[in-house]
């Protein structure tokens, strides 16, 4: 194997990992700032200028706290839970194309860790694995509240995965490909999928709110009913891992939404920019645009969290099974008919 290839991929993976962690870290800060601004407050502003060192202070606090393992818990699973949640959150970034191919010194470096031809399926696999972290943590705690929360998380994620998968099928009918790189290439310029699949996008977005356990679907950590939810018994950095995994999930699902529906690194007028900036700078501008889209989605996640109250459990299930799934199926049928009419 080419040693340069290994070095390239290793670098890309490390950078992606670092960026995921950094964004997750600063999402906690952004969350508190956004919450504060939406509520006419200032938010954290004591640690460093404008409080930008607050995530570091929080991290130090998390590491320094006493770690408690309940005596009746299943020790191994109790440790495995947060680790699994973190792992599943981090590996999702591997298939997302972060930019156009970089051409440096005659070598073409794709800004994607791996372009597997079942990229969308891989993402779905990772997302469905994500619920195991919550379930194992809730089960291993040997606490009724945690268990209830884990059951809720499992049923919620399974219900919404169906609608999510169905909303994606309509998209795949259009793209004829499961490779994320191919899907992004088809959206070259301003030809974004959201223009053709607005309903599919809305369903997908609602489902990704549910999949990441974000408000208004954050029933697994419903404080009023379940204390802390599945992480009631967790403390110190194990709790930190769970909270962190939630933010990484938010980052990954924002990236997925931007990639599938909002053209990834594509933006209108990118061909003109490419002729002006050359083969190295232009792809990096595209990457910057992708990150702008991701940040916009992350902001939207937070904006919704501080606007809409939590759904009741029966409302959640009604919305998932009685509204989103029929809508998604109708979307597939309409898309299929339109494609058939256009082709013939």
């Amino acid at each position: 194997m080419d040693i340069n290839f290994v070095i390239e991929k290793f670098l890309l993976v490390s950078i992606l990992f670092a960026i995921s962690l950094l964004i997750a870290m600063y999402s906690t800060y952004a969350e508190r700032k956004v919450a504060a601004f939406l509520q006419d407050r200032l938010g954290p502003d004591r640690a460093g200028p404008f409080g930008i060192l607050q995530p570091l202070a929080d991290g130090v606090k998390m590491f320094m706290k006493e770690e408690i393992t309940p005596s009746n818990s299943n020790k191994w699973l109790f440790m495995a839970g947060p680790g699994l949640a973190m792992l599943c959150a981090c590996i999702g970034t591997a298939v997302i194309p972060w930019g156009q191919d970089l051409a440096i010194g005659g070598r073409v470096i794709p800004l994607q860790v791996t372009d597997i031809n079942v990229g969308v399926l891989y993402l779905f696999g990772v997302v469905s694995l994500g619920v195991y972290g919550v379930m194992i943590g809730g089960w291993a705690s040997n606490n009724k509240y945690s268990l209830l929360s884990a059951i809720r998380a499992a049923s919620q994620n399974i219900s919404y995965e169906i609608a999510m998968g169905l909303s994606i099928i309509a998209l795949l009918l259009m793209t004829n490909s499961l490779s994320l790189k191919e899907i992004v290439l088809q959206q070259h310029g301003g030809n974004w999928n959201v223009l053709y699949q607005p309903l599919g996008f809305i369903i997908f977005m609602i489902c990704s709110f549910a999949e990441t356990n974000r408000a208004p679907f954050d029933l697994p950590e419903c404080e009023t009913e379940l204390i802390g939810g599945y992480h009631t018994e967790y403390s110190s950095m194990k709790l930190g891992f769970y909270l962190f995994a939630e933010y990484i999930n938010m980052f990954v699902s924002s990236a997925v939404m931007a990639t599938l529906y909002f053209g990834g690194y594509n933006y209108p007028g990118m061909d003109w920019v490419a002729t002006q900036l050359g083969p190295i700078a232009a792809p990096l501008v595209g990457t910057g645009v992708l990150f702008l889209k991701i940040f916009a989605f992350i902001f939207f996640f937070m904006w919704v969290r501080w606007t809409i109250p939590r759904f009741r459990y029966d409302q959640l299930m009604n919305l998932g099974w009685k509204t989103l799934i029929p809508l998604a199926i109708a979307n597939i049928i309409i898309t299929g008919i339109v494609i058939a009419v256009v082709k013939f």
Binding site: A36, F37, L38, Q39, D40, R41, L42, D45, I202, W303, V304, W306, T307, I308, L319, T323
Partner: protein, 166 residues
């Protein structure tokens, strides 16, 4: 029973219509409301650097007053301690010596005067009880501290500074 006030309202619970069941119009409206707050000026007062304006009858930290000649007014009668519902005030009285005439106004004075700021409820009964107009709650907010013993304020913190000599 028929209400006399005419304020009674009978709430009707109608089932949601289609637009309401979609949730989306209401959600968009809510998002608009919160976004309008995003650009509003925050009402936070950054406390240690900024202080809010107090009303004129605000009761803060106590101060023991001096008279127009700069002598302490307190005569250690103990009425403030007696009136205090939280029992926050204690004092030890002493007799004034002839050479201390310029320090204390009355023949008896408080050698030790302590207020426990953790007990004090800032009701202002001490200032009402005082016959010598010697104690007023006209100071700032009592600052925070780490140890309970540091909240017992003695005369060093309570007596107001000596008058400026003209």
């Amino acid at each position: 029973m028929e209400s006399l006030s005419n304020k009674k309202k009978v709430l009707e619970q109608k089932p949601l219509n289609f637009a309401e069941r979609m949730y989306l119009p209401a959600i968009v409206k809510g998002l608009g409301t919160t976004m309008s707050h995003f650009f509003k000026k925050s009402s936070t007062i950054r406390y240690p650097e900024q202080e809010r304006e107090f009303s004129i009858n605000w009761r803060g930290m106590h101060s023991l007053k001096r008279d127009e000649d700069g002598r302490e007014r307190c005569t250690a009668c103990g009425l403030c301690a007696l009136s205090c519902p939280a029992e926050a005030i204690t004092m030890i009285a002493a007799e004034r010596k002839p050479e201390e005439k310029n320090l204390y106004r009355e023949e008896k004075y408080a050698a030790v005067y302590e207020i426990n700021m953790l007990r004090c409820i800032f009701c202002g009964l001490c200032e009402e009880a005082c016959p010598k107009e010697a104690i007023y709650l006209d100071g700032p907010i009592v600052p925070s501290d780490y140890l309970r013993k540091d909240f017992i304020y003695g005369k060093d913190k309570l007596v107001e500074g000596p008058l400026e000599v003209k």
